[in-house]
Symmetry: C2
Subunit: 106 residues, 2 copies
């Protein structure tokens, strides 16, 4: 139950930063982005990207794939949150991805 905690990606990385007692300014500098950009990412007003996820992973020693799962699941949740059939859509996507996996390993 660690990744299914219903906290957004932004809130999660903010929590990491606050636990480490680091100001935006310092983390942003480490990530080589503007402070205001990081502020917006923490408030889910801007997208993160590979470089930023990489950096967060390095700074806070968090497994990069966990961060990616959080980031992408957030995005997908957001895409479906107002859809009537969100859960069905996910089921179909799941079936397709499983199918792809089967096909790819030939």
């Amino acid at each position: 139950m660690s990744k299914i905690d219903n906290i957004t990606f932004g809130a999660y990385i903010r929590k990491l930063r606050e636990q480490a007692k680091l100001p935006l300014r310092k983390v942003a500098a480490e990530l080589d982005i503007d402070t205001s950009t990081l502020s917006k990412i923490e408030k889910n007003e801007r997208n993160a990207n590979e470089q930023i996820i990489e950096g967060i992973s390095r700074i806070f020693q968090i497994d990069k794939s966990e961060l990616k799962v959080r980031y992408l699941s957030d995005k997908i949740t957001y895409q479906l949150i107002h859809e009537e059939n969100g859960l069905e859509i996910l089921k179909v996507a799941e079936a397709r991805i499983k199918y792809q996996k089967r096909v790819n390993r030939k």
Copy 2:
């Protein structure tokens, strides 16, 4: 097993059109879009949108929500197809959407 047939959205609407024996030209006119745009949508080279899904639903008498499920699950599948943890990402998104539903009906 009707929506989980591993056929893309484009291929699906092409099939509908061919079964009805209609040329792109006619369907595109009905949808009020360019013929070549519809050709590209059928080949998954352009996005559909609400208006187009609406139109397809009307022309071929297909339930609009079925079309939406097909369209969006396609998009999500495509977003995750190269991700290591695609299935886990879907699971997390699913848990979040369920959580939202619970919260919303308060």
